[in-house]
Subunit: 326 residues, 2 copies
């Protein structure tokens, strides 16, 4: 069944049917009604392939699915993908998945997706300083949005992010309000935008309360074992912290172990509100992932369907989920 079938059924030309579909406002009310009915009766659907061939657009949005690394943080992608797919559908788009071992492979995939499938746009997660992927896409004027700020230039392209600094600051203030002064921090090695941001939130909150953060923080790659090791290290210091904020739930879980093994009550707050945090009762900073994904799609469709101007970035606020550990 094609547009011609509908046209015959509704006693109009093919063109009129096309107009009803793509520019309803230029068709006379009565005619439009008749065509709409024919479409409904026949159960007609436009052929994406034919439309795509003519317009060069696929109504497809691509997003990368990463291999689950440590498992704890894996589930964040789940929630993000669901929000993304749902919002995309509402906007008339579909989400396409792809994998890539590294940035180079990812760029090769862009190329393939673009030239073979006419992909309309990309949603990137986790950008870095000087990310080659965004440069490649921008060079070719491919529409894309990142979940994560461009750490070099905030106006480089549309983005959505969660205010990590605000999250750790809130966590820190929560501990401060509970009477703690020496609130420590365990985060990732300097250099990653996300990690530096989270550490900055803690540091500023402490300074604002008149506490000197010097010596109260440690750096570690992500992982439970690392968190445990550094917590022990911190606790063995001259004037150890009495409570800790961490850059991830994994690190916080390590802290929990360290605290248990030296039989010490040590309030701790994680980051990401993963299922693990919920299961063990870990207080954690929660990112509005579903919403973030939705806003990514909003921005992308604004670029795709709207006037050719860069939409304003979106910075979402995280929230503190209180549980047993703090």
């Amino acid at each position: 069944m094609t547009i011609a079938t509908v046209a015959r059924h509704a006693q109009v030309s093919r063109q009129t049917v096309s107009n009803v579909l793509n520019a309803p406002h230029i068709v006379r009310e009565e005619t439009r009604q008749r065509v709409q009915e024919a479409i409904a009766t026949l159960g007609y659907r436009v052929s994406q392939a034919a439309r795509q061939m003519r317009t060069g657009r696929s109504r497809l949005i691509a997003v990368r699915i990463e291999p689950t690394r440590d498992g704890i943080n894996g589930s964040v992608l789940d929630r993000f993908l669901h929000g993304l797919t749902e919002t995309a559908e509402a906007a008339g788009y579909r989400a396409l998945l792809y994998t890539a071992a590294d940035a180079g492979a990812e760029i090769a995939t862009y190329d393939d997706l673009l030239s073979a499938y006419d992909l309309d746009g990309f949603v990137l997660t986790g950008t870095d300083h000087g990310d080659p992927r965004t440069a490649w896409l921008a060079d070719r004027s491919v529409p894309f949005v990142t979940f994560g700020r461009p750490w070099d230039d905030p106006d480089a392209h549309p983005w959505v992010d969660v205010d990590g600094a605000a999250g750790t600051a809130q966590a820190t203030r929560h501990l401060l309000a509970a009477g703690h002064r020496r609130v420590g921090f365990i985060g990732w090695p300097a250099g990653s935008g996300v990690g530096d941001d989270r550490r900055a939130g803690w540091r500023e909150a402490l300074r604002a309360a008149g506490v000197d953060p010097t010596g109260l923080d440690r750096e570690a790659v992500d992982g439970i074992a690392e968190g445990e090791r550094l917590a022990a290290d911190l606790l063995a210091a001259a004037s150890p912290p009495t409570a800790l904020v961490c850059a991830s739930d994994s690190l916080a879980l390590g802290v929990l172990r360290a605290a248990r093994s030296c039989a010490r009550a040590l309030p701790v707050i994680g980051f990401d509100d993963t299922p693990v945090a919920a299961a063990v009762g870990l207080t954690s900073v929660s990112q509005p992932l579903h919403d973030a994904a939705a806003r990514c799609v909003d921005l992308l469709t604004a670029v795709l369907d709207g006037p050719p101007r860069t939409p304003a970035p979106v910075l979402l606020q995280p929230s503190l989920v209180l549980r047993h550990t703090a």
Copy 2:
């Protein structure tokens, strides 16, 4: 750039280029080489849209992304999707995501995806007794594979599954081997294929060891709180179990809480090997999800690209991941 460009470059007709692409064996070696070179030099890619319009096939496979329910089991989908996407890419297919609130909406989505996007096939997860979705697809001869057995008729369609009964049986034998006799079980209410299967594995293992399973099991909907409640209930019985096998990590986590609150050493084994299990040291039955997804794609592409016969189903074996709790 089109095949015409390539044809000119290689001094052949468009059709010959098409043949090199789709039926290389009918083209003379020398000609083929020349065309391949032209393709490489030009960086030509076939247009999916045009091909799709002609063949009616999109080289797209659809898979549903479910809203994360309790979060603990959410991450299983993550791993599955990654395996699926990866294997699909290797076979020349791409994975498309969709959401659906219920079976009815899902069927409406099939219809849309099929008529508008020419989807080639579907991968369904979690089928039930008398699943309306599989019936709808089968009625229309749409290629699909399920991750999960068709509980009514094992030959109804191609499927991949993990032998849940074997998993719980292995867990049960592990506890038996450690000297336990009264090994209990906490599972889901009767009626769900997956749940009944897991319970059956435990029951048979117990019987094989000469232990009467009567009174040693309980039923609960999934969740930590429910697990805790039923574990307490079981422990309060006349001759309580000395170790437990659970149908999920959530339930097992509840058992852990119950055991802690009555200060009792109670070995427990969960199911799914979720990140939470890893984090808290819960011994758990692990499903080869990445592999399962890959086999789903294998079966589906066999139907799509191979001769028109139903490929044999695949039953994968789970493995027991030993940690602290058993």
